[in-house]
Symmetry: C2
Subunit: 135 residues, 2 copies
DNA sequence: ATAACATCCGTACCATGGTACGGAGTCAAG
DNA sequence: CTTGACTCCGTACCATGGTACGGATGTTAT
């Protein structure tokens, strides 16, 4: 049971320590039990595999376009019973992703036209605005 | 030569009036000559086809992932002579777009797994975090 | 046991891309 | 020639997703 501190967790998740703390404040990550805890506030918190998985999930869900609020809901659903809600969220996001991917592909085509138009060695300005006109 | 006011320009570009003003402040859109201009500050500004094209370009360039700062550079290049710089910017963005599209496609696959796993009528929690694990 | 380093916590600040507000000026219709 | 809608302008505020600071405490290596 590999345990680590907040710095190790952050490293595993590919984020900074401050970002982990930010997620804790947002309620996306828990604040585990502290070691010993002699003083008033207690000691240092220890994190395990579950925390690492959870943090990684947050990051990949972000790339899927979920906001942190939505990710909070997903994490709640992961523990809950509402399969229908989870299914709906996933479906909605797939539709949004399909739109986004189409949008980016169209933009890519425009950029290709632009690179082509401005790639020649000929002088003068290249019609950047025009290259996007055909979208 | 269809002319319009800021509200018409905003409508054509699919943005709000305040957004147009914001772009003007950022230097992305110019502030054209005013009508009559009797008082101290002058009258109402009039916008034409070029302004509409420029505004639409800003919006589509945004969907391509350019920041407003980069769009400002592109607009400067459109008038300038630096074809090489324009070509470089376009190429860089194509690479970034390819990465982003791949990322979104992977996320889409995860969501499909998730929708599948949580779509059945069976009870209990569905493994949301796990559905993303295989990325 | 003491130095060096990490953690904890609240609070403040940051960048990006807007959105809102309020007062003054302008324009067109009745 | 007034009313009502629109414009202009500065300035303030907002949401999102962090990032930085600084003092107190905790941990660890020598």
């Amino acid at each position: 049971m590999k345990e680590t501190t907040i710095a190790g967790l952050a490293r595993e998740g590919g984020v900074g320590v401050e970002t982990v703390r930010y997620y804790q404040r947002r309620g996306l990550l828990g604040t585990p039990q502290r070691t010993g805890g002699v003083g008033l506030g207690g000691g240092i918190r220890r994190y395990g595999e579950d925390d690492i998985r959870r943090l990684r999930f947050i990051r990949t869900a972000q790339t899927a376009g979920f906001t942190l609020d939505e990710i909070g809901e997903l994490l709640a659903l992961d523990a809950g019973e509402d399969r229908h809600r989870a299914h709906t969220l996933a479906r909605e996001r797939i539709v949004a992703l399909d739109e986004k991917i189409a949008e980016l592909s169209a933009a890519r085509a425009s950029l290709l036209r632009l690179a082509d138009a401005c790639g020649s060695t000929s002088k003068g300005p290249c019609p950047i605005i025009t290259a996007f006109d055909l979208e």
